[in-house]
Symmetry: C2
């Protein structure tokens, strides 16, 4: 909400920065989910960006896994709070950690830990439907980079709607 001396990035720069954050080795993500009766949940997890999807690994009995499996929805936050990438995602599939070597190897390569060594872990593969990125208040306009699962044209006009 504070003002910033930095000029607002255009959509091309934000998209490039967002993809760099999603691909960063050791990246983490805040995962917000909700139970069917509307109780919010939030945890930080390792983030892997693979084939244009987000992959997280977690215990299949955890609240986040149960919420996501039941509702199929989550909202993700990546980055420090003044340089965020926000993703609305839907659950594409749940994969046993031992069932897909390519997925597991991609996970280990970015996250640098192997959920196959734990007990009861599952990969949840999440399909982004909306992606937004902003730093300070001057970047609230134009923050939407993907809408309805489609990346917006990188030269498009900023969007002025207020959504938070």
């Amino acid at each position: 909400m504070s003002t910033s001396a930095e000029p607002a990035r255009d959509r091309a720069a934000r998209t490039a920065d967002a993809l760099a954050a999603l691909r960063a080795p050791g990246a983490d993500v805040w995962v917000a989910t909700a139970s069917a009766d509307g109780v919010p949940y939030l945890v930080p997890l390792s983030l892997v960006w693979w084939e244009e999807q987000v992959v997280v690994a977690l215990e299949s009995t955890s609240p986040t896994a149960r919420n996501l499996t039941a509702s199929g929805r989550a909202r993700l936050g990546v980055g420090p709070t003044r340089d965020v990438v926000m993703l609305d995602v839907v659950l594409d599939r749940s994969v046993d950690v031992g069932a897909d070597d390519g997925l597991a190897e991609a996970f280990v390569a970015q996250a640098d830990w192997d959920p196959r060594r734990g007990h009861g872990y599952v990969f949840l593969v999440l399909q982004p439907t909306r992606v937004q990125a902003w730093r300070e208040a001057n970047e609230i306009p134009g923050r939407t980079l993907m809408r309805d699962g489609t990346w917006l044209a990188r030269s498009g006009r900023p969007v002025a709607r207020t959504e938070n």
Copy 2:
């Protein structure tokens, strides 16, 4: 989930670190809420810790304000993802930003911006019911610092339950 060379902090150290994070000038917080039909929402907001409660300022028409007002519940994440303080909170009260000078001054002092200069902002005052803090996997045991609204004795035994 990765292992760490740092030893796990005891409860007294975690509680002191958590309170320092909550009181830090310019602190931000990830606020997870949900609609009545279970759609999760997540945004970063400025965090103010005042009289043992969390105060956020946001537009009264925003999804987060609407969700919190309807459900009375949120889950908050403070800090980088590998040094987190997690708070489950209930809505204590909603206060017009012009209606309580003491609250507004406390907000400005920590957040360094004044929501009274915006349009349609409201303070939401949030009462913590559970507080947890951890850095890496070795701090998952013993992560609960407050339960049912009461800070746990700082010399207590770590709690071994898995809750995430």
